[in-house]
Symmetry: D2
Subunit: 447 residues, 4 copies
């Protein structure tokens, strides 16, 4: 399903053709006298806006009323914000509350990315000029050199509750209990009860005095898995509370997870998928496609991606622009929590001369790519289409295969992006390209 | 302008009504024999896909052809990915290359956020269940306590090229020259020539041996400003090359900027807007709206946001989920480079008991919010509508006012989000809410 | 006044009475004609200074000749630098090459530190005024409140070689091999062959493309253990080279160890001993001994040790001055590698009000205390005496007991130091005390 | 054998000849009946140990009594800990309280280090085998290649108090006031009143909500300067309190200084002396002295010092073992606060091939070397002798010259140490050397 098809999203009678008539003709929905009343009530504050969906049993209508109420309150026209063309029922109680419409992000296509022997066309949702074109150029360089290879090094989502115990001694005892291999089976049974996909992998406890931070890691099939791991954590905590602990303060999340924050624990121990992806780029390709040479790339990678980030005091940001590619794919493929690009972008890019300096060995190592192909935004029509384009839509037969593949594609596209941007910097193209693009000179970007 | 208006995006004759007919009726565009040829050529690789726009002088048609070619190559239907309802000319050479359609992200509305005496309704584009509802609850707590106040502490975009000189001595001389106050005027004149909005503010040089990393900071009006500062940097480098330096390797960007990477230099010195936002929440509100109490919030903030992040080795992530709110607003308001949420999410959240423990003083301090209200994705119809809703669309009369206001709103919304999530954790609601939401039990989230 | 013991350097005939002649009487040694020749040769560069010990078979004489030669070359008198009073044979090929004398660091005594039910008198070698007195005050506060308790959470020294393989795929295979539990036994056998104390505990591999960083962790008895783990690593690498790998570049150390550098890997995963130490300080003691109150300490700890360090972008430095205490004890007890205070000082200090705000729960959590009671500088007479004072000299019957105890004492003394300094800051004493002390007003420091 | 100078502790009548009686002859002191009484009182706790110096007006005697009391309390002999041979009056109220003796650290000599055209013989106090020999080899490589050059990039000590204000708005106002260039003169006058050497350089304020961290930077002549800057800070705070602020909580130190902690603020903005030091090592020297080749050094530096530290999540530790050299020189030259090696060791080491790969450009960049040549431990006899050996003892005519020179020597010695260790690793010598040394095989280390 897609855009306009929300059109004809049910509805009895008179509403029906509303949706069949394009917005150009009739933009502002005509409200029934009933609607008018509701709008007034929402404006007046007598009906809470968030109750509309429940009250009306009609998501689209609820959105329309909320939107009109907002228009009246603020005086903003909201005209440019699309309303129709979206299935609001699909997000109810799942993806977004208090909806008033949707934004559109254009999706460009980079590729084919030749990765692990297959061709991928990578959908990238972005509004940054040159990004898709640049990644595309990187893909071309990779393909012409025989393709990239990826390896998955680790796969496990984490969540770390914190529990404050009466003393550090007690916290140490709990740590010893939780990390004791002979208790792992028992804890796993409780944890795994939470979902048929969740499989507890490990527990790592850190202390800050009497506060214990318990980092659970588990495999989560094709889901990104935050909810799954959180639920498992709740199960374990409930059990612990019952049998063991007189503690005063507990929080399901403690920032030792660490979710949506740049943190060394993810950089060092991984979170989600840890992937390394590499390619050997031939001298000819470096020259003809990337318009530079091997030794310049090697030197610039050291000066910018390693030393530059070191000087800047970076944490896990030893790359040129991994965040750009990660966020573009995340938006396109409907990652549930967009803010996870914060740790999913961690990346170290290496460029080394091989074969007596004739070829370039380039790699990206990304310890915490958090992706899923089921749940959250992946179910929305446009995002699902992008997943489908990559052949990784929904759950796979062997749970986890699709999400692993998606992580590999993310790393592969980052590899392409790194190659292309470092090359552009090496030849001084960066500013010129960006300026051109943002000035609409209508030239076509050719790299 | 919005969604369907792309409809009637010109076109002579027969194409015209294509756009008037909703996609539900006729999804797959009918191609002319001419189009069919083009599609075949793109599939065969004889016409590069990126040349379509230029060749045809018709963006929508180019996208249609590219899309159909992709469909044939990959066998993916692409059905769910909206095609119509978007003005592809608006992104040409500006926002996205090789477009094949667009994704839709639902926009929820949180607010009113009472900030600096004004009411804001904050558009948040997200697919994470509970996020809008939770932020909304935070807004309510703030409003009931008299509102939040923000202060802008700094405003300047940065870019740091790297230049490799023959020796560290030479690099040191260049540093001395560039940082010498008596040369500032001269350098400024060159730099500021690049744009009427760019005003050079400061230069900070770091060395790694003979490599010098030169961090320029400048005000950029209402633009986010990366291109502006980059262009200024190019001007200065060109001048330096002319008069001064026999250097071998230069890159416009060095990661000391530091763009789209978590890096201490932004955390310590700021990038974009540095904003602090605070509120005093009354005891009654903590109890009735947030369902917890002051001392628990204070303790949990220490254990999670300060100690927890410390234990996790976080850099600038001393908050509960600033990244969530920042990314939701960035997507809604069309930030050019989404990956900038990497540093824009840096935040330290403080919660302190005041008035003998009766009230809660809560604040967020965010050193590097990178936002603009002109350029890049801000010009797209749906994003512009969201900016308009906040009253910060486009350039302001006093350049910079709109982008500063937007930064304040980001901080204010983060304040609301922090308040609500920490409260939810304090009362054990987090997992329950997320699970409920992602399981579509259709209950309405009430916090 | 100065070192008396420079006593008579060299000597006609009878070495014995050399020592009977006080330095005050005869400072400048008389050399034999033979010595004179040697000195001239060293000055002229015809005899390398480092060959003296071997050539002469008399360490003390070698030092004398080197010293005199240096005096002549530089024109510096070296008068103040003690020569006699030290057994130079004890450092030959073990602790220090090319010796010319020794420096003296005064040792103050703090205590009794009541820790885990025992009283410790802690030797601290320092030249920072107030440090011993302040730590002593903290000890007093702890003792008056019933003492501190410590728990050892982990004990293992690490070393991480790096190996560059032909491809990331190969590196990933090696990682999989090394981390596979079913290979652990085999690898352990090889590793443990290196020493009867070394017991391999775990292997953690990280990749940067095709470069694999292999972090071995092993228990090392009472030794700090760097050499032990390094030797084990060599054994494993030799074996791997034989059977497995055509690699081009290898280094025994890769900075992923991470030795003598502030690094998140130690902060997150520990290195050496991980210790937590805690105490509950009674309200009366806070008032009478520390001259402040519980709530001020709690607040200041948050503002300085947590938020302040967060704002400063600290890594593992969430404390007031752990480094001071660690370094003072390290120097006194002869830690082999003083630079290891870089990671041994990692510490998070927590202060929380307990019992309705009447008492203070204070703790220090230190993940990477690297100490040994055998090897290196621990064998020197003065350092051995300090270890003996703590009852932890040399190897213990159950290997590791002494070094673990020493780590606990370090943490306990840090606890005392933190308590006292934060209290001093809370009452504004810091500057006054330091100034007084460094101005020699001869007042006695009383806290 | 051990310290001879424990020489006769106390004594019948004439103090004078005490020192003439070697410890070998009479080790255990005879106390006067008066002393005996004091000892008993100290043991019994009726006389606080810290009062002895004041009571007796005789430091040496006080130490003897304290020492004997401690011996009786603990049962430890303390025999190996030297007592005599040290001027205890020199540390009274300045360097160390509650002294019981001193430890001895052997001083080896590395050099000549050819730096900025001069030859330095660098005293290194260490008990780590191979360290001096290895640094010495690096010095040789540098000297044979024409010497190293250093540049001082910055010189200013910092201290950052924290002040908690009623609101973030007030904190922002204070920040604006303090950072306003037009107020700098006024503030400087107050600040500089504290010492004739202190010259305020800059003020940088950071906020965490309503808490303001105010980082003052000032030049401090030849002193390391912590006390000087602290006193200036006190003067300013006193003035502010008077005129401006109703604040509740203040602390002279806030960890934003950041003293004795690894923190990005020092790495990014510098603390103490920022120094870069470089050399070009000739191919022949790399081969003959360092036993390796240029390209291997360049590659290993990237893999270990840059990528390895990046993977380890290091902050400012992009070097092989800067901490070793820094600590050895700090101990030898009497740095007041040894724990300052924590930030003084921050260093990025770069190795680049130059002249078509024939030569090696090597550099160390160290942003926060904190050294002084007056004050604290620099005044002790042995440490003063080491400073004198370097020609930097005491205050210089142009205040600051000596301490700057010392910082340059530190950097130069680090350069030598890095060169040698990376070379050793490149040729697989590291473990072998350490093992040999710590096993006392009595071979002479030759590199």
């Amino acid at each position: 399903m897609q855009a306009f098809d929300i059109i004809a999203f049910v509805h009895s009678n008179d509403e029906e053709d509303t949706f069949l008539i394009p917005s150009a003709v009739r933009r502002i929905p005509e409200f029934s006298s009933n609607d008018e009343e509701l709008i007034s009530s929402v404006v007046a504050g007598t009906i809470p806006s968030y109750e509309l969906e429940g009250k009306l049993g009609d998501c689209r209508r609820a959105v329309g009323i909320r939107r009109e109420a907002l228009r009246r309150i603020t005086g903003s026209s909201l005209e440019g914000l699309p309303f129709d063309g979206f299935d609001y029922a699909s997000i109810l109680n799942q993806c977004c509350e208090l909806p008033i419409g949707y934004v559109q992000l254009p999706v460009g296509i980079a590729g084919p990315l030749l990765l692990d022997g297959k061709h991928y066309y990578v959908p990238m949702a972005t509004t940054e000029g040159c990004l898709v074109a640049s990644t595309n150029r990187g893909c071309k360089a990779i393909a012409k050199s025989g393709g990239a290879m990826s390896v998955l090094l680790r796969d496990g989502m984490t969540r770390a509750p914190v529990v404050r115990l009466p003393s550090a001694r007690r916290a140490a005892e709990l740590k010893a209990f939780l990390e004791n291999p002979s208790n792992f089976e028992t804890i796993s049974v409780v944890f795994n009860r939470s979902s048929r996909f969740a499989k507890l992998q490990s527990i790592h406890c850190a202390l800050a005095g009497r506060n214990i931070y318990i980092r659970f890691s588990c495999s989560t099939g094709d889901a990104m898995g935050m909810n799954m791991v959180s639920k498992g954590v709740e199960y374990v905590l409930d059990e612990l509370k019952k049998d063991l602990l007189p503690y005063s303060l507990t929080s399901t999340s403690s920032n030792f997870c660490s979710d949506k924050k740049p943190a060394a624990v993810n950089w060092i121990e991984g979170r989600g998928k840890t992937v390394v992806c590499e390619a050997v780029i031939e001298e000819e390709v470096v020259k003809n496609v990337l318009k530079t040479n091997v030794s310049t790339l090697v030197e610039l990678n050291v000066i910018k991606n390693l030393a530059g980030s070191a000087v800047a005091g970076s944490l896990g940001g030893f790359n040129a622009h991994a965040g750009n590619i990660v966020s573009a794919i995340f938006v396109a493929t409907g990652r549930q929590d967009l803010a996870q690009i914060l740790e999913s972008s961690h990346c170290i890019t290496m460029m080394e001369a091989v074969n007596d300096g004739q070829n370039l060995h380039v790699s990206v190592t990304m310890p915490s790519i958090e992706v899923g192909t089921v749940g959250g935004g992946t179910q929305l029509a446009s995002q699902a289409a992008c997943l489908d384009l990559l052949g990784v839509k929904g759950g796979s037969e062997t749970p986890g295969e699709n999400s692993k593949r998606l992580a590999a594609v993310v790393a592969g596209a980052v590899l392409a992006g790194e190659l292309s941007l470092i090359s552009a910097l090496a030849t001084g193209q960066l500013v010129k390209c960006h300026l051109k693009y943002n000035r609409s000179t209508k030239d076509t970007c050719k790299f």
